[in-house]
């Protein structure tokens, strides 16, 4: 967007840059406003609906519901000691399911902490997803990462690494490489509000802008980074405005409105693919649950806020709209809930029966071929079975 705009004074020897317009009033308005199509009460402006056939709308709903139901079943599993930790996405499903829908199979989904269910939406078998969370022998990474760190090369999904914001330059590198190779791939990178304070966020946005990489950044501003509210994270007016300084087109969107999120991400992905460079989307949402299974949010936030956001629940809102429009009535929604619940329950039981990976698998995949050091350590295992 700012391709030619920002460069005019570089090397000119002039001290002022009064005539260089990095962003316009409209750019600023987008970065401080709020895109919303479907309001809290489930009413949508028909003129602004994205072009999605009913079956896609139903799929979006089921994807969000699936993520919600995974959380509902897996959190208790952690409480029972059957999985080590868990990170819920409750309340934030609209953004990443919309993102998963808006990209192509060949595109890359680079997740932050809470977007794992997008992998299932994009085709990762539920059993494989649960294998990661349960750390079984079926897990692609053989139980090497803590739960909610699922990745899958077959669907171009990159796992989170725990290190906040570190995935942002990866998304940029993927997109930049695609541009170098002249391939139409787009990278979609997710992260939280806390991540916008990290160096990797700033380097990532800057690199993306400098190279006009086909990457779309989605910041899930769920208002909290563990106990730190976004107001203590930054003095910026919004998170989206941070993108403007890098000349990355930036928008603020109602992150609990799946239709707005889909329309915005889709437009950004299309623009990136067409060679117009990166976009930064701040999705305004809320973490309905705890930061993690080890966290107690009652220590740092009050129920009042929670009650406000419960009413803005993305699933309730979308469900209401689908029912009103007779796309998916409440009976069908209840049936979907029952069906997915059963499928998750059965898949958990099947995966739990698999058991852990063999101890010797510890030594695999450190390098393409193990070094003598690894061979020696493996041979020295007391029980190398």
């Amino acid at each position: 967007m700012a391709d030619g705009k920002a460069s005019s004074k570089v090397g000119s020897g002039q001290l002022t840059c009064d005539s260089v317009e990095i962003w316009s009033d409209e750019d600023y308005a987008r970065a401080t406003g709020l895109v919303q199509i479907l309001d809290e009460n489930g009413h949508a402006d028909p003129a602004r609906l994205p072009h999605l056939p009913s079956e896609k709308l139903i799929r979006l709903y089921q994807g969000m519901l699936g993520s919600r139901l995974l959380d509902e079943q897996l959190m208790p599993l952690q409480r029972q000691g059957r999985i080590g930790h868990y990170f819920e996405a409750r309340g934030q499903e609209a953004g990443f399911i919309a993102g998963a829908e808006a990209i192509e199979k060949t595109d890359y989904f680079v997740q932050g902490l809470r977007e794992g269910a997008a992998a299932v939406y994009r085709g990762l078998p539920l059993g494989k997803y649960l294998a990661q969370i349960l750390g079984t022998a079926h897990d692609a990474s053989r139980g090497r990462q803590m739960p909610c760190h699922v990745g899958a090369a077959a669907i171009h999904h990159i796992s989170t690494s725990s290190c906040v914001a570190s995935q942002i330059p990866h998304a940029v590198g993927i997109a930049w490489a695609a541009k170098i190779r002249k391939e139409p791939t787009v990278a979609l990178g997710f992260f939280g509000d806390g991540a916008t304070s990290e160096d990797d966020f700033h380097a990532g946005l800057n690199f993306a802008a400098v190279y006009q990489a086909p990457v779309v950044f989605v910041c899930q501003n769920n208002q909290w980074a563990i106990s730190t509210p976004v107001a203590a994270q930054t003095r910026s007016e919004t998170l989206a405005v941070k993108g403007l300084a890098y000349a990355v087109p930036s928008l603020r969107v109602d992150g609990n409105d799946v239709l707005a999120m889909y329309a915005t991400i889709k437009a950004a992905v299309d623009a990136a693919r067409a060679g117009h460079g990166p976009t930064f989307i701040e999705a305004v949402t809320y973490r309905l649950g705890a930061h993690s299974s080890a966290d107690d949010p009652a220590r740092y936030r009050d129920g009042h806020e929670d009650a406000i956001w419960q009413k803005r629940d993305p699933l309730l809102r979308f469900g209401r709209w689908l029912a009103e429009r007779n796309i998916l009535d409440s009976t069908a929604q209840a049936a979907a809930r029952a069906r997915i619940t059963d499928a998750i329950r059965a898949a958990i039981a099947a995966e739990e029966a698999v058991g852990p990976p063999p101890t010797a698998s510890l030594f695999e995949d450190v390098f393409a071929r193990p070094t003598w050091l690894l061979e020696e350590q493996k041979a020295g295992l007391r029980n190398s079975g």
């Binding site: 990474s141 077959a154 290190c163 590198g173 993927i174 990797d200 190279y211 695999e364 393409a368």
Partner: protein
């Protein structure tokens, strides 16, 4: 065979590898149009274009992080960090991302990124242009660490690093960049990662036989000491490790079996330096072949100094002192 210095060998290697494989790209601060502050990438952008040799903004985490993404996508990035002292902004990307990509994905993804960086002292660079950080990377599972000392090894090992399947930290002894000269095979040339080079051979075990282990900028210093010692009646085997992870344990242990003594020379600080690992590995395998304790001649456990750098760095005489100690029992 053409004669080259190390800078020319790097440049030659990058050119050959970029010609061989269109996936190879070079990125870093000032590496493009200008050709790098040490001139290692001169002419590459002109020859291969700005999509193959890329000037980046000044952000090491961005350079390494983006290189990881490129490698995930299938490119073979060679990133330059302008000085090893400036790698720390990228430390998280290297230790937590690059090194773990294969492991954490069960081999579904890998990140074959080569990170080149000028390292070590001897250039009057003070703290921030002199450090030799090999140990921190050797201590990170998932990284190979290479530290050559000759132009031919630099070319051959860099080529192997670029063609390999895994990330490589490629440390270049900046003080030898232009002083180390030698014949370098033209065109396609590789030296396998993981093999040491015996620079000088000992004849047999005697009261004055011993093995010196060195790498990078310390190899010429160790050779100078070995040459001098030879004139004093010592029988010395000098091994240039070349690859630090995985280090060539066979060559090392064979040599110690022969000579019965070992002195390890490195310029990085002593405590928890790579010398400690070598000493431990040698005694695990060759304690009963040893005639004397294994000694280390190293930089001190201080930040790298400016005015007193030649006091800080191991030199011929400090090495000679150690040789004397291990042979007078």
């Amino acid at each position: 065979m053409p004669e080259m210095n190390i800078i020319q060998a790097i440049n030659d290697c990058l050119r050959v590898e970029m010609q061989r494989d269109s996936r190879v790209v070079v990125l870093g601060e000032d590496v493009g149009n200008f050709g790098g502050v040490f001139r290692a990438t001169v002419g590459l952008q002109q020859e291969f274009g700005p999509d193959r040799c890329m000037d980046t903004p000044l952000a090491e985490n961005g350079i390494v992080g983006a290189a990881i993404g490129m490698a995930l996508y299938g490119l073979r990035p060679v990133a330059e960090i302008q000085f090893a002292d400036y790698v720390y902004p990228a430390f998280d990307q290297i230790v937590n991302e690059l090194a773990k990509m294969r492991y954490r994905s069960g081999g579904e993804y890998s990140a074959p990124v080569v990170i080149r960086m000028p390292a070590g002292g001897g250039v009057r660079g003070g703290h921030y242009h002199s450090q030799s950080p090999e140990a921190v990377f050797i201590h990170t599972p998932g990284l190979q660490v290479v530290y050559p000392s000759t132009p031919a090894d630099t070319k051959g090992l860099l080529a192997s690093a670029i063609r390999g399947e895994d990330p490589v930290i490629f440390l270049e002894p900046k003080r030898l960049y232009r002083t180390a000269k030698g014949e370098v095979p033209a065109g396609d040339y590789t030296v396998p990662i993981g093999q040491a080079r015996v620079v000088r051979r000992a004849a047999a075990r005697s009261e004055r036989s011993l093995t010196i282990l060195a790498w990078g900028g310390m190899v010429p210093t160790a050779l100078e000491a070995a040459d001098k010692a030879a004139g004093m009646g010592y029988d010395i085997e000098l091994i240039d490790l070349r690859t630090l992870l995985p280090f060539d344990i066979e060559t090392i242990v064979q040599s110690v079996h022969k000579t019965g003594r070992a002195v390890i020379v490195h310029e990085a600080p002593r405590t928890c330096g790579f010398g400690a690992e070598l000493a431990a590995s040698i005694q695990e395998r060759a304690l009963l072949h040893l005639e004397a304790p294994i000694l280390r001649v190293t930089g001190f456990d201080t930040p790298f100094p400016y005015t007193l750098e030649s006091e800080y760095l191991p030199d011929r005489d400090r090495i000679l002192d150690a040789l004397e100690k291990v042979t007078t029992g």
